[in-house]
């Protein structure tokens, strides 16, 4: 019974990781790839870790697994936001079918004044950058 539960959880987690890998290869744009990395892979790894916690059935192991899952859930959106912002500032092109760009004109990398938006989008960046 426990073995069946572990097998089901590990299968779902592995399927999510496989979908994340296929999306990483097939998506046309770095911003769409970032969506894949943050959501699907995080859920897949979390399910694999939960299956490990069920297998060991131990308090210390369960605590460790919850620490790892909490750490992943906290750091994955932060790193995705940072690398997406860096990619936008550098000037990565969006997919041509993306029709909404709310940051357009906000970060002028090519004029050398990146980080200082024309429109008041992000006030903290204006103070923080030198």
């Amino acid at each position: 019974m426990i073995d069946t539960l572990i097998a089901i959880l590990a299968s779902i987690g592995t399927l999510f990781i496989l979908f994340a890998a296929i999306g990483m290869l097939r998506m046309p744009d770095i911003y769409l790839r970032l969506a894949v990395t943050t959501k699907a892979a995080t859920l897949g790894v979390g399910l694999l870790l939960v299956s490990a916690a069920i297998y060991f059935n131990d308090l210390s192991t369960t605590t460790r697994v919850f620490a790892v899952i909490l750490f992943i859930l906290l750091t994955a959106p932060v790193s995705a936001h940072l690398i997406g912002r860096a990619a936008y500032i550098i000037g990565n092109k969006m997919w041509e079918k993306t029709h909404t760009d709310e940051l357009e004109g906000g970060y002028e990398w090519h004029s050398g004044k990146y980080g200082a938006p024309k429109k008041p989008i992000d006030q903290e960046i204006e103070e923080g950058e030198d």
């Binding site: 572990i6 592995t14 990781i17 496989l18 890998a21 770095i30 990395t37 490990a52 790193s79 912002r85």
Partner: protein
């Protein structure tokens, strides 16, 4: 088919296939942030493989390595994005 056989012959090969797919993206990614995202996803899959291997071997100590992987991947991504923002205009 026991749980060990299932994990060894189904779960780990699928994880390896996804690692290969992401490695293709790492090799041919058009820009540097693509490669950084690919490395981040590789490290995340490494955490999952560590969890599966800890079930297979019966040692729960391997889960600490997962925590270490997560820390290294996060710090690497933050450092890469910081230096990408600070680079000079070409």
């Amino acid at each position: 088919m026991s749980l060990e056989d299932y994990l060894y012959f189904v779960i780990l090969p699928v994880l390896a296939i996804s690692v290969i797919l992401i490695f293709i993206r790492l090799l041919k990614g058009p820009s540097i942030p693509d490669r950084v995202v690919a490395v981040d996803l590789l490290v995340t899959i490494g955490i999952g493989m560590t969890a599966v291997y800890s079930i297979l071997s019966g040692h729960s100590t391997f889960l600490d390595i997962g925590l270490l992987f997560g820390l290294i991947g996060f710090l690497g991504t933050v450092a890469y994005s910081s230096y990408l923002e600070k680079q000079k205009k070409k």
